[in-house]
């Protein structure tokens, strides 16, 4: 497979490899793909009270372009709001990395990983805010304000 220099750069110097604490309520985890297909991506984001993605980490089982696609999207989502991150399209990833046609599915997986990580975070937040509402105003009012700001 002949790859673009950008794929090779991300593959050889992957950005943001690692894991965040998946039990942290501010962390959203997306796990997409399947081992039998040869691609599994785990993308994690830490979202601030203001709804901004402060940190992103990935681990990927997959070919060079799968690793590069996930590395690239960790760079892209960092510093963006959740809403902005949701606008990242697989075609943007494919174009940026100049992926060959047989590797387009890697960029699709990267987009799915962002969406899955955000959905996980939203679910946690939804559950947390519901719990908070039930518990009344006494507990962690500051955090609750943050939640409201994030639009949940």
């Amino acid at each position: 497979m002949s790859y673009s220099n950008k794929v090779i750069d991300h593959y050889e110097n992957p950005r943001n490899v690692g894991s965040l604490d998946k039990s942290d309520p501010d962390v959203g985890t997306g796990l997409v793909g399947a081992p039998a297909c040869g691609d599994v991506m785990k993308l994690q984001i830490r979202v601030s009270d203001a709804g901004v993605i402060e940190d992103a980490k990935f681990k990927t089982f997959g070919c060079g372009s799968a690793i590069a696609s996930s590395s690239l999207v960790t760079e892209w989502v960092k510093g963006r709001s959740v809403e902005e991150a949701l606008t990242i399209k697989n075609s943007d990833v494919a174009q940026e990395l100049n992926l060959p046609p047989v590797k387009i599915h890697c960029s699709v997986l990267a987009e799915d990983a962002i969406k899955a990580a955000i959905a996980d975070w939203q679910k946690k937040r939804g559950a947390a805010s519901a719990a908070l509402a039930a518990d009344g105003e006494r507990k962690e009012p500051a955090k609750r304000n943050g939640l409201l700001k994030a639009g949940i």
Binding site: G33, A34, P35, A36, C37, G38, K59, A116
Partner: protein, 404 residues
């Protein structure tokens, strides 16, 4: 030590300098056409071709008259399978092969299916070998051809050709053997193995690309319908001006193999075992695919769990190997050979084929062990599956999102 290191000897082998030396005159002053009967240029070319034919025959225990030269193993396989099926079609229309054969045989079989033949594709055991009993059971009164390879090009597993040859001989069924990977590496004898048609290729045994041979048994006589029409060269099996330099080279490659096979196979097998043991010592969760006992000396096919094969090959770009991962092909399907052997898709995606050969050195093996140990460790640190397995997650129980 020269970088990059070549460890992909099932794909092709470098031309031995002695082979190159032998063929060069036939690209220069000895340019005659072996079919020119009227002058010395032709006579000398013919002499060289016949010397080459004798060497190929000697390596596999055949008579020179039973050797026809071709452009390589794909052609030999095509002529053998389709040629025999077409000749014997009035006797019956059933053919037998195996799921792990080379595409040259499988696709020839598929073409024959479209022509109205019926083909049984035998399974293999987990070790990659066909059970001779399965062959016996599959043979029917209308079976006309069995085609099985000797050494598999991916996993290096050797089928029990001798036992199967006994069965086909007893049943009177023509037996074709694609012996491209094994001839010159392990002993192969057409009499002992009772094979009727054998495909051989020069470039898998330190000769050049573009030349091969087909053994066609004379006693009992095996007949074929030729694919190529023309001047009736090679007893009519294969028309076309003979590739004299190629044939000289194939002959020399066979002569070298016959003289050096025993020592070379022992040396290559020792290096292969060293590679395997060295990797096992440095890394956990490795699986060798296919039988270790019945195997080509230069082959190691290993799955590095939780690391994808193509990503691993990118990481070890100083070493030329190949992978059963889908990402190395355009089809997005992992190796059909590993699949047929019952290797799971995820381990097929993680497989690497090492092909050691005549020019592989101990120093290279040491380098490859170090490099793979480092890169597999690095990629596993990046692998969510490795992390999950270390956390004790049963990956087979996880509901994966994208099961395409």
């Amino acid at each position: 030590m020269k970088i990059p290191i070549y460890m992909d000897c099932h794909a092709t082998t470098p031309v031995d300098p002695r082979v190159l030396e032998a063929m060069l005159p036939y690209l220069r002053e000895e340019f005659g056409n072996a079919a020119s009967k009227s002058h010395a240029f032709g006579w000398r070319a013919e002499e060289a071709v016949e010397a080459g034919r004798a060497e190929v025959a000697a390596l596999i225990g055949a008579s020179p008259k039973e050797i026809a030269f071709t452009s390589g193993a794909t052609e030999s396989d095509n002529v053998a399978v389709k040629g025999a099926a077409h000749f014997y079609k009035d006797k019956g229309r059933h053919l037998i092969t195996c799921k792990t054969e080379h595409k040259a045989v499988l696709d020839s079989m598929h073409r024959l299916e479209r022509e109205g033949f019926e083909v049984t594709f035998l399974p293999t055991g987990k070790d990659g070998r066909v059970d001779p009993d399965d062959v016996k059971k599959a043979i029917r009164t209308d079976t006309i051809l069995v085609s099985l390879m000797h050494g598999n090009n991916e996993v290096g597993v050797l089928h029990p050709i001798e036992e199967i040859g006994r069965i086909t001989r007893e049943k009177g069924v023509v037996f074709h053997c694609d012996a491209v990977q094994s001839v010159g590496k392990v002993p192969f004898d057409v009499e002992k193995m009772n094979v009727d048609l054998v495909s051989v290729s020069a470039h898998k045994m330190y000769g050049p690309k573009g030349v091969g041979a087909l053994y066609v048994r004379r006693k009992p006589r095996v007949r074929l319908i030729a694919e190529m029409d023309g001047g009736g060269h090679e007893r009519g099996f294969r028309s076309g001006t003979l590739n004299v330099p190629g044939i000289v080279a194939l002959g020399k490659a066979c002569a070298l193999a016959r003289a050096e096979m025993a020592d070379e196979s022992a040396r290559v097998a020792r290096l292969r075992d060293k590679l395997s043991a060295g990797l096992e010592k440095r890394l956990d969760l490795l699986t060798v695919n296919g039988s270790l006992e019945h195997r080509l000396p230069g082959n190691l096919n290993m799955s590095f769990a939780y690391v994808e094969g193509e990503a691993l090959m990118m990481a070890v770009k100083d070493v030329a190997v190949s992978s059963g991962s889908a990402c190395t092909s355009a089809s997005l399907e992992p190796s059909y050979v590993l699949k047929a052997m019952g290797v799971s898709d995820d381990l097929a995606h993680s497989s690497i084929r090492f092909g050691l050969g005549r020019f592989t050195t101990e120093e290279e093996v040491d380098y490859v062990i170090d490099l793979f140990a480092a890169k597999v460790t690095k990629l596993r640190e990046m692998s969510p599956l490795y992390e999950m397995s270390k956390e004790g997650v049963d990956l087979s129980k996880v509901e994966w999102t994208n099961a395409h």
